[in-house]
């Protein structure tokens, strides 16, 4: 099956199930509190290898916190984390992290190519500086996210969506097996959203595991096939349709309204049409 054959892009072609039994992320009873406030309570997340997974929940549900615990950026009060069946310290080279755009100072003196090259620093070791090969790889990654012509633009002069694409390119250049993205589509323009989703989809089709914190329930079923619902505690996880059909949304977001359909009801409906609205490679900006 060729990834470029449009016929293979239908639901049937995509139906390659995530590998059972092997987990890209496995947490066991992760618990974390900020002072007296519980941030994560006994979270046992198991994302299968090869999943296109969304991590969803209301504001303050602990989505970013969970991602940071998984990456070892925050210490959990209790519980265990395995990434690709290894401890994080052994798995780092196989994990690509795309932090929330707002966590860095975009006034930093660097251009897009500089930032993408940072993805190769680990491989370069302590003292070696990036050279022609590294810059070529970084340009290639920028090309994949449709930003080749902006390589030398200072990052402060990029739009929010372009900055997010630079961050994604920085993860691409690492060529990891697992991508962890914190709100990659928050506050980005339509063109950037299409470019980012197209890249993530292609990665997933190539066998990579993608796990993204996602906030927009309207696009959830179009972009993702696996879902974890979090609200301090893990309210549900599994293939998106199964979770949407359960009462997990109700438990994560509070009781359903007395009249009318709850705002998450469309998630299950949309699943039927998930291929129609999906941006294709052809829509990528040149």
């Amino acid at each position: 099956m060729s990834a470029t054959d449009p016929r293979s892009r239908g639901a049937a072609g995509r139906a390659k199930r995530p590998t059972p039994g092997r987990h890209a992320i496995e947490t066991r009873g992760v618990t974390l509190a900020y002072g007296a406030t519980m941030a994560l309570d006994d979270v046992s997340l198991r994302v299968p290898v090869g999943a296109m997974a969304a991590l969803v929940g209301p504001n303050g549900a602990g989505k970013s916190t969970l991602l940071k615990v998984v990456l070892g950026l925050l210490p959990a009060a209790s519980g265990e984390v395995l990434l690709l069946c290894e401890r994080i310290t052994d798995a780092r080279s196989r994990v690509g992290y795309v932090p929330q755009r707002s966590t860095v100072n975009w006034d930093f003196p660097a251009d897009a190519l500089d930032v993408v090259t940072m993805g190769l620093y680990r491989r370069l070791g302590l003292f070696r500086r990036p050279g022609a090969r590294q810059y070529a790889a970084a340009r290639d990654a920028l090309d994949h996210v449709g930003m080749a012509d902006l390589a030398r633009r200072p990052i402060g002069n990029l739009s929010g969506g372009q900055q997010q694409r630079v961050f994604l390119a920085r993860a691409l250049v690492q060529d990891p097996d697992l991508y962890l993205l914190d709100e990659p589509l928050a506050g980005v323009d339509a063109a950037s959203e299409a470019a980012i989703v197209a890249v993530l989809t292609r990665l997933n089709e190539g066998g990579k595991t993608v796990v993204a914190v996602h906030h927009d329930l309207n696009t959830l079923s179009r972009y993702f096939t696996w879902l974890a619902l979090l609200n301090v505690r893990l309210m549900g996880q599994g293939p998106l349709q199964e979770v949407a059909a359960s009462d997990a949304f109700e438990r994560a977001y509070g009781a359903a309204p007395a009249r009318g359909r709850p705002f998450w009801a469309s998630v299950a409906d949309d699943q039927e049409h998930r291929w129609e609205g999906r941006p294709d490679r052809a829509e990528l900006p040149a």
Binding site: G72, P109, L124, P154
Partner: protein, 282 residues
């Protein structure tokens, strides 16, 4: 060439000023980008008790010992402000203000005490407040030169890690960097940048020579490497200019002159910044 430029004292002063301006300006790049300018100010004020104690230990002017004391109390003040801001209901700026005041007060008390010792006047202790370029000895140049080489060399060795940790600490840690080691290194670099100029520029204004060149350099460049060296050059030029004016006008403290020159460069940079013009272009 005016004859005073060949005067050995003037040459010593100019060389010393160039070295400390280069180091302070270049290392200030990371302090400014990490938004630690106020930590620099805290450390420089807090260096005063260390200088006094360094003098009291030997009873004579020993620059290495006085500067070592300055590093110790400067870092102690930085740690104390970190401890305070970790307490509930104390914000970072209040913590630094408290720490700065405490250590500077201790320094003034220790300095007054040390002034009564024989030899205090000869050690030029009071010049550590506002700086006195003319007090630079030829033997100090060796120390300044070594510190400059070691500090700049160390930063260029771990350049990638320092850059990544400054821009995106979360990503750096996720990629396996040790946050505490690199941050300790950068804080130590800032302490060195502050302490190296204490004698010429003084504890009160030294942090301005760390901050101003980086602020000016940022206006003219969008690359970290260029900013680093440009800030070093601006720092060196400001320090040499200020030190020469002061050395030729007896009684004029060096620190304020250096800072006035550096701030003038910042003003020029703000007006002529290509980024500013680019933004007008759209």
């Amino acid at each position: 060439m005016p004859s005073f430029l060949l005067d050995p004292i003037v040459i010593t002063v100019a060389l010393g000023a160039a070295l400390l301006g280069l180091t302070a300006g270049a290392l200030g790049t990371f302090a400014v980008l990490r938004r630690e300018s106020l930590i620099g100010d805290t450390m420089s004020h807090a260096a005063l008790p260390g200088v006094a104690v360094g003098f009291l230990l030997t009873g004579e002017r020993s620059l290495p010992l006085m500067l070592a004391g300055a590093v110790v109390t400067g870092l102690a003040a930085a740690l104390f402000s970190l401890y305070l801001s970790g307490r509930p209901r104390i914000k970072r700026d209040a913590a630094m203000g408290t720490s700065l005041g405490l250590f500077f007060a201790l320094g003034v008390v220790a300095l007054s005490y040390a002034q009564r010792m024989p030899g205090a006047a000869a050690a030029g202790l009071e010049t550590f407040l506002f700086g006195q370029a003319a007090a630079t000895l030829r033997s100090d140049l060796v120390l300044l030169g070594c510190v400059t080489l070691v500090a700049l060399g160390a930063v260029s060795l771990v350049w990638k890690q320092a850059k990544l940790m400054t821009f995106d600490p979360d990503f750096a840690v996720a990629a396996g960097a040790d946050r505490r080691v690199i941050e300790a290194f950068l804080t130590a670099a800032l302490a060195v940048a502050v302490v190296i100029g204490l004698q010429m520029v003084g504890v009160v204004l030294m942090s301005a020579l760390v901050v101003a060149p980086a602020v000016a350099a940022r206006q003219w460049t969008a690359s970290l490497g260029a900013m680093f060296w440009l800030a070093g050059a601006i720092g060196a030029a400001s320090a040499v200019t200020g030190a020469l004016i002061s050395a030729l006008s007896p009684g004029l403290a060096t620190g304020p002159l250096v800072v006035l020159v550096a701030t003038a460069v910042v003003c020029v940079a703000l007006v002529t910044s290509p980024r500013r013009l680019a933004q007008v272009d759209g």
